[in-house]
Amino acid sequence: MDLTFTPEHDAFRMEARAWLEANVPPPGALRSLDTAEGFDDHRVFERQLFDARWSVVSWPKAYGGREVGIMEWLIFEEEYYRAGGPRRVSQNGIFLLAPTMFEYATDAQLERYMAKMASGEEIWCQGWSEPDAGSDLAGIRSKATKTDGGWLLSGQKTWCSRGAFAHRCFGIFRTDPSAERHRGLTYFLIPMDAPGVTVRPIAQLDGETGFAEVFFDEVFVPDEDVLGTIGDGWKVAMATAGSERGISLRSPARYTEAADKLVDLLLATPVDEGHHLDPRSAIADEVMKAYADAQAYKLHTYMTATKVREGHTVGAEASATKIFWSETDVAIHRAALRLLGESAELEVDDGRGGTDLSEWLDGYLFALSGPIYAGTNEIQRNVVAERMLGLPRA
């Protein structure tokens, strides 16, 4: 048992820190990711990251990575959050699609897509959910029918994060209409500018368009853009779902940095004198609970990373992890809003003559989606009970 980093790790950390300190834009400098202008602002920064080979540190060098291990990835993420790096516009591609690509893609596919994904030249959105298949992905109805040299895709996907502005989409479609549930599905890589694709942006709680509905009307996708085997889409997709829920999506630093800021906010909150019960102390316990959970998540991730590095795979534990990080994220931001009290609802000057959500309020709205997406926490609790504790299925 050794919880210290090696000198090589420390050197890697210092190199990342130096670059990030010099290059991360100040808070608010990039416009909101969920607007067309902000989307471009964020792509410019992705390009900078890529040019300095920081955008995908664990990937092969051929696609812009550094071929480093999971510990270095964790270190980079720690530094990224420490430096206050902006939300990653390429997140769906590099964190959700990429692990699946490295497992299932042909060399030609990797060649065609990975470097552009890493540089932010091509931003990917996900095409998982359908109006009647949210938590129940096996209920997918969108279909693909064979045609010369490829497939014609028809149907509707929804809750496509980044869907309003993305260049490409990954998702599963039913290729065998006679098969049901998990069978007869195939995984496709789809250009968003193909004829037949219609995007309807969906405004989220704050009124900005973080996701979209995407309609497919006989959209042609060539054979070479099938990922994995025809009919094998469920298995391929589950690899992505595993990544989404598992350790790769959520760096612990995201929570430990936020929790540290929360403690700062607590210590800066004036104590109200003149009564015996100090409400700051009452909220302090809630703050410290959130802090402790963020720390616990970090240590748990180190333990998981050790296992992964030693060849173990993460199974149902990914469901426990997803429950924990999503609820920790809500807890951190809710505690902050409680500290802010009546002013929590107020927007703040965005430095460009308008107002925008405060960092805490924005973070809270974002956090609230955590227990819902990537499989609701209700579904995840079923998985923990059935697969980790052996309870009988209903």
């Binding site: 704050d206 609802e345 309020l361 989606s369």
Partner: protein, 366 residues
């Protein structure tokens, strides 16, 4: 002991509910969000429809031309207004400003707008703390800058504090001052800051009377926030119950899953037990019962917690659709978040409760 509304009280509430159903639909609120210029969405017809029911004159004695009723009637009306997230200063006018005007001994002239002038009033520049109101008005030369005004652009009058030479309570005319808009996550709260000039004409009270009235104003604001939260709770739970009964996943309505049932049942139980506390506090306030302050803190703490829980489970049970701007849930949820924190959150009111209990025990022989 008869802890329920009278038939007359229920009829009045139902009349208001019917008017609100016509004049305050989810569509109206979506429109207000879409069009959030300072004076946007201002609905004179809506306010007039409510005004014409006499609600703003409810607290005014009959001898002065009012209805001569009190908080026992109004509490149910505010709950109904909460249920539709009404974006008008109904609770502010009828639940806070008018009763304070009456209590201040202000003459007929001050009450007139609320009898037949279509008057709408609000308050601002003060917040709740467990040890008493905290004044947040700021002197600006001869003028006073008052922030945190709810329904600012929808109100003709502002109950505000000037603290230049000791706290004074004023009723300012919003049109005479400079109003700037503050942006809230809940656009329909229409928050604002007014810079106004205290004059002899605006002055309502000074010295101890001003302090007492200010205490009352904050208590009233807390109580009527609690009443609106009850309505919001109920509306969120009902909206969600309907949704989960229809929405299918895994081939069955999601509302048939025990996890969903228990989320909503938990919220409903909280609401069920917050409601009597809010009504009881209205009774205490109306009857000037010595426990009124205690009862208001009890009511607000329970209602704030119930609303937080209802918002949380409603969003979770809706799944992604509840997270969208086009769905109705956020209209209710954002108001619930705001009112849960406004005029003292649950914790602050529990802190005040403890202060009160401690003071009581130190007086009693041991």
């Amino acid at each position: 002991m008869r802890f329920s509304f009278t038939e007359e009280q229920l009829v009045l509430r139902d009349t208001v509910t019917a008017v609100l159903a016509d004049w305050c639909t989810p569509g109206d609120l979506h429109e207000l969000y879409a069009n959030d210029a300072p004076d946007a969405g201002r609905s004179h017809p809506r306010w007039n429809a409510l005004f014409n029911l006499g609600i703003t004159a409810l607290h005014i004695p009959e001898v002065d031309g009012g209805l001569g009723l009190d908080d026992r009637e109004l509490i149910a009306i505010s709950e109904a207004a909460g249920r539709v997230a009404l974006p008008e200063p109904l609770s502010e006018t009828a639940g806070v400003v008018v009763p304070i005007l009456v209590a201040s001994g202000a003459g007929h002239h001050a009450l007139e707008p609320f009898l037949d002038g279509g008057g709408a009033a609000t308050l601002g520049g003060v917040t709740f703390t467990p040890s008493g109101p905290r004044i947040a008005s700021v002197a600006d030369g001869h003028r006073v800058r008052t922030s945190g005004i709810t329904q600012a652009t929808a109100s003709h009058h502002l109950l505000a504090v000037s603290s230049a030479s000791g706290p004074e309570l004023h009723l300012a005319v919003t049109a005479d001052g400079d109003l700037t808009r503050t942006t809230s996550l809940d656009r329909t709260r229409r928050l604002g800051t007014l810079t106004w000039t205290p004059t002899d004409a605006t002055r309502l009270a000074t010295g101890p009377l001003a302090a007492t009235l200010l205490d009352q104003a904050v208590n009233r604001a807390a109580l009527y926030s609690a009443a609106e939260l009850l309505g919001l709770c109920d509306a969120m739970i009902t909206l969600t119950a309907v949704y989960v009964s229809e929405r299918k996943q895994f081939g069955v309505p999601v509302g048939s899953f025990q996890a969903v049932k228990h989320h909503l049942a938990g919220a409903r139980v909280k609401l069920e037990f917050a409601r009597p506390a809010v009504y009881a506090a209205a009774w205490s306030l109306a009857t000037e019962h010595p426990s009124a302050t205690h009862d208001i803190s009890l009511a607000k703490s329970l209602a704030s917690d119930a609303a937080d829980e209802a918002a949380r489970v409603s969003l979770q049970c809706h799944g992604a659709i509840g997270y969208t701007f086009e769905h109705d849930l956020h209209l209710l949820m954002k108001r619930a978040w705001a009112l849960s924190a406004a005029w003292g959150d649950a914790r602050s009111h529990r802190a005040r409760l403890l202060n009160l209990l401690q003071a009581e025990r130190s007086v009693l022989p041991s």
